[in-house]
């Protein structure tokens, strides 16, 4: 495809200059008109806010999860503020309205449907009809879908910028996204009629509601306007309802007007049947008849009518000068020239540029590219093929839309020409649509809105590059999982992209959340899925610790079901929860008067090589009733008594960091009320025995009791 460098257009280098960041103008603040002197950007100011003066400094922090932040006042040197406030502010982001979010959802759906754009690289040279493949139709439909959704959004939110955007998209649609020439003419007329609706309704009503519309001074101006805008049905109706008939059945003029009305009336039907040529021929024949002269009469009025009819027939048969003179704007002339003059342009951009030049020479567009003339300038860029400028203009109006439109441009091959200009500073030119789509996706991720986040991840996933994959991975690791559905979704994305380490992170984060919510087994399961054995171990010991201090199994049915094998758990959890299971068995057997069995369980725990030493004192304290109370005396063998001494010796010689923790745990245990009647603290109290208050006292008490029992046993054996 060749691109024009017409007089009205800029060349490609100019197009490449248009890479500046669009200013993010808040429609609300625009009217305040206070601007920053350095950048000319509007300043967002608030009625409150940290008072900033020479003594203070402005500080802030951004929220890592969305587009908000907090600012506050600090100072260079110590001052004593009356009160210290934090002020919440927002960064610019995606418009927060359900209608707009729905629009974005529809655009995304459309993008998803298109799938891998590389499949849609369509032939560019030649007539449109020759490239009328399914791929072309899909791309054309895709832009059409965007314009329809945009129209729907405009119906719900009256935003001038969206109107402007629609004008540009309609123009794009008419020039590049059509499947045949007839479709193009229809789209061109739709575009100009939507962008600048003419004729004015009041003007038309004024004429048609007059006594004899046909005799109204502006009647023919109305018909000319309707015809140059392709509104043939309206023109036919206006003509038929104008009371043009003289009452004379032989009137040549009446016959001519009737013929013209018939030509108007047949336009849509014949164009639909691809008979534009025949239709134009009918108009040409009628026009030729008029030049024979027999229609001209002595009546000035009739002659004026004949002249007007001739003018109209000249327009619709594509007579250039008449057509240009009959139009009021470049776009009206462009549409009319393409529709009635050189209809078969295909995608010949040179021809299109010539037509545009004719139109803009006759009716120059506004010089300024801002304000009300902005869409006109962009539409000229569209026709001239300045696609980067077009994207930039669309970006200013709506950033998400530009992402999807750029993808269509890429698929149509419109952006290939820029790739040769790529260098280190403009490396984005290699993948223009990738840049815009990634930017939009990241904006979605910043929003903190779940639906938009899913959309952002979806876009990146569809891009399918290693960079987009790493972006998703980085994002998911910080994704705020609030529900199981969130977790399932994040895990499914990680699985699809084979991000194993990300999935493990997600599990570990979910584990922490479950733990905070008191769902211990769920948390342990998540930790094990996240390959965080250390946390499984740590939390299983915490379960053990709680049970040990409370003197009874923990109040968690699920954990206790794991212990009793009522429910299944991953092997690593079974392994790590085993000490707790043994402790529970100790409690159960102690309650069932199986004291001997209970004591053996306790010994198993004390002999367990991985038992943190800090638990030893409280565990050993559980043996106190068996050593102290007569009723339980002789339950321990000599060998076991010696083993307790060894445990105490071992504990005392290994003065590690655990000693402090052990003391703290023992203090808590002593202060605790204890569990059932079999709890060591309850039993000792019941029998009036003193409870050692410190680990040192415990050790001393144990040594004394054991010495006594060993002596007694020894004496008995002797």
């Amino acid at each position: 495809m060749k691109f024009s460098t017409g007089d009205n257009g800029q060349d490609k280098d100019d197009d490449l200059q248009m890479l500046d960041i669009p200013e993010l103008i808040d429609a609300d603040s625009e009217s305040d008109s206070e601007t920053d002197s350095g950048t000319s950007l509007p300043i967002e100011r608030f009625s409150n806010g940290p008072l900033h003066d020479k003594a203070t400094i402005l500080q802030f922090q951004l929220n890592p999860n969305n587009n908000t932040g907090m600012m506050y006042e600090s100072a260079r040197s110590a001052i004593h503020p009356q009160e210290v406030r934090l002020y919440e502010f927002s960064l610019p982001g995606i418009e927060d309205s359900p209608q707009y979010h729905n629009y974005l959802a529809q655009l995304y759906k459309n993008f998803e449907f298109l799938g891998d754009a590389s499949k849609y690289r369509v032939p560019l040279i030649g007539l449109v009809s020759q490239s009328n493949t399914q791929e072309t139709r899909n791309l054309n439909n895709a832009l059409n879908y965007i314009t329809e959704e945009l129209s729907r959004l405009i119906d719900q939110s009256d935003d001038d910028r969206l109107y402007e955007l629609l004008n540009i998209l309609k123009c794009l649609n008419a020039v590049y996204f059509i499947t045949n020439e007839n479709d193009r003419c229809q789209q061109l007329f739709e575009w100009i009629n939507m962008a600048d609706g003419e004729p004015d309704l009041e003007f038309a009503r004024d004429i048609m509601e007059s006594a004899v519309p046909f005799q109204h001074g502006d009647f023919w101006a109305l018909i000319v306007k309707l015809v140059t805008r392709g509104l043939f049905n309206e023109a036919k109706n206006a003509l038929e309802q104008s009371n043009y008939t003289t009452g004379d059945s032989e009137s040549q003029l009446d016959l001519v007007l009737a013929d013209m009305a018939a030509i108007f009336g047949s336009y849509n039907e014949m164009v639909l049947k691809d008979q534009f040529g025949e239709w134009k021929q009918q108009a040409r024949e009628l026009k030729d008849n008029l030049t024979h002269g027999e229609f001209f009469s002595e009546s000035t009025g009739e002659n004026l009518t004949i002249k007007k009819v001739y003018q109209i027939l000249s327009i619709i048969t594509g007579l250039r000068e008449t057509l240009l003179n009959s139009c009021d704007s470049w776009y009206e002339a462009f549409a009319a020239l393409l529709s009635f003059g050189i209809r078969e342009t295909g995608q010949d951009s040179e021809l299109m540029a010539k037509i545009l030049k004719l139109a803009t020479t006759a009716h120059p567009p506004p010089v300024s590219s801002s304000g009300s003339g902005a869409w006109e300038r962009t539409c000229i860029d569209v026709i001239e093929g300045n696609f980067l400028k077009v994207l930039r203009s669309i970006e200013v109006l709506d950033k998400p839309t530009v992402a999807y439109v750029s993808r269509l441009f890429e698929a149509k091959g419109f952006l290939d020409q820029y790739k040769e200009h790529s260098n280190t500073h403009t490396s984005n030119l290699d993948d223009i649509s990738g840049y815009f789509l990634t930017d939009h996706a990241l904006t979605c991720l910043e929003s903190g809105n779940q639906a938009l986040v899913a959309m952002g991840v979806g876009i990146l996933s569809h891009l399918g590059t290693s960079l987009s994959r790493s972006t998703i991975a980085n994002y998911l690791c910080g994704f705020d999982i609030q529900t199981n559905d969130d977790l399932e979704w994040a895990l499914s994305v990680a699985a699809k992209l084979e991000l194993t380490s990300v999935a493990e992170t997600l599990y570990r984060v979910a584990a922490q959340k479950s733990l905070r919510a008191g769902r211990v087994l769920e948390s342990l399961t998540m930790f094990s899925r996240g390959k965080d054995v250390s946390s499984v171990k740590h939390n299983c010991w915490l379960v053990f610790e709680k049970a040990l201090l409370d003197g009874c199994p923990i109040n968690d049915a699920l954990i206790n079901d794991v212990v009793t094998h009522t429910i299944e758990a991953p092997p690593v959890i079974r392994q790590c929860i085993a000490p707790y299971a043994v402790l529970v068995e100790f409690y159960n057997q102690r309650s069932n008067d199986s004291s001997r069995q209970a004591v053996l369980k306790l010994f198993n725990l004390l002999k367990f090589p991985h038992l943190p030493k800090k638990y030893s004192p409280v565990l050993v304290a559980n043996l106190l009733p068996f050593i102290t109370l007569e009723s339980l005396a002789r339950l321990l063998t000599l060998h076991e008594l010696i083993m307790i001494i060894l445990i105490i010796d071992n504990y005392e010689t290994e003065k590690t960091l655990d000693a402090e923790d052990a003391e703290a745990l023992y203090t808590i245990a002593v202060a605790g009320g204890g569990g059932d009647d079999n709890d060591w603290r309850v039993r000792l109290s019941l029998y009036g025995a003193e409870i050692p208050q410190t680990v040192a006292e415990l050790v001393t008490t144990l040594r004394k009791r054991i010495a006594a029992q060993v002596s007694s046993t020894f004496l008995e054996e002797v």
Binding site: T438, L515, D532, S534
Partner: protein
């Protein structure tokens, strides 16, 4: 004119730092009043409610930082009292009684007031680094992340050859590269020096690059999240009035760099640093720079009382895109 939502922190003296948790649901503040306060976001009302407040140090508290969520609700704080303290939320304790945040560890290896603290990204483990006026970067690891009481000094780097004179103004800051797909990197700013360290094959932090051009104390440094680009972006805010944005590209080949602490040139497998742009729009000192969640928008605050938002254009040039003013008029 719009009104900003605000709330009173209840601090009795100046706030020196605020820090959001990973999900923006909790906010920690620290102050000259030696207290840390944590606020919880009420999702329904979008208001911040005090979770707890406690005296955390024996001098003014300069910074608070949150650990990654997979390690639980954990905060590190640093103070002019020369200590780092590690705090963990105990959800069994009632809020507002000053007991909800348990001190898990106190690290007191530093020989001067501390200025900045930061946790490493989670994929590097539970790791925290801090720097203070002794000019030494110290990095500690919780060898067993589930046990927050034991922290081991794993790296010690003399960033400044000599500590600054106590009568002179000084500033220090640090931040880790957040990307999980590149080797560990940390940028440390000490006075007017910006230095990037990477971990070598032996596990030591070694000099990888310098951040050039600074002509005054570096007040703030922020490493952009690695999203949507292969290179790294890093920003500094400086007393010389400039916001600077650097592009960092990891190079396979060694390049010669200058070691700020020794003044010698060294050959090292390093990072190529390019100053992308510098902006003096704040018309005075720049106090804070901060990247947003995806690293697409840089925010900066300075003496003009404005927060300026910077975004990269299609041609990779950063331009100011918005100005938020804290001045009343």
């Amino acid at each position: 004119m719009k009104e900003l939502k605000s709330f009173i922190t209840g601090h009795e003296e100046l706030v020196h730092d605020i820090s959001y948790d990973f999900y923006g649901k909790q906010l920690a503040t620290c102050s000259s009043d030696q207290h840390i306060k944590v606020f919880d976001l009420d999702a329904a009302t979008q208001t911040w409610n005090l979770n707890d407040s406690w005296k955390a140090h024996d001098s003014l508290i300069m910074k608070v930082a949150w650990a990654a969520p997979e390690f639980g609700h954990v905060i590190a704080s640093i103070s002019y009292d020369r200590t780092i303290k590690i705090w963990e939320e105990d959800t069994d304790e009632q809020p507002g009684l000053g007991r909800r945040w348990k001190r898990m560890a106190t690290i007191s290896d530093f020989r001067g007031p501390l200025y900045d603290v930061a946790f490493a990204p989670a994929h590097l483990g539970l790791r925290v680094g801090a720097i203070g006026s002794d000019g030494v970067l110290r990095v500690y690891d919780a060898m067993e992340p589930s046990d927050l009481r034991v922290w081991t000094l794993t790296s010690e780097v003399q960033v400044l050859n000599l500590p600054p004179a106590t009568n002179l103004q000084s500033d220090f800051s640090l931040t880790w590269c957040p990307g999980r797909f590149s080797a560990e990197k940390i940028v440390v700013c000490a006075l007017d020096q910006g230095v990037i360290y990477t971990r070598d094959a032996q596990g030591r932090l070694t000099l990888a690059a310098n951040l050039p051009e600074h002509n005054g104390l570096i007040r703030s440094v922020s490493w952009a999240p690695s999203m949507g680009r292969w290179h790294h972006l890093l920003a500094t805010g400086c007393k010389d009035g400039y916001v600077r944005i650097f592009k960092l590209v990891e190079k396979a080949q060694d390049v010669e760099i200058n070691d700020a602490s020794s003044g010698e040139s060294k050959a090292h497998s390093a990072i190529e640093v390019e100053l992308l742009s510098q902006h003096d729009d704040h018309s005075g000192e720049v106090w804070r720079v901060n990247w947003n969640l995806t690293g697409t928008i840089l925010s900066s605050a300075g003496d003009d009382g404005n927060i300026r938002l910077w975004k990269s254009s299609f041609s990779n040039e950063f331009q100011c895109m918005s100005v938020i003013s804290a001045n009343l008029n």
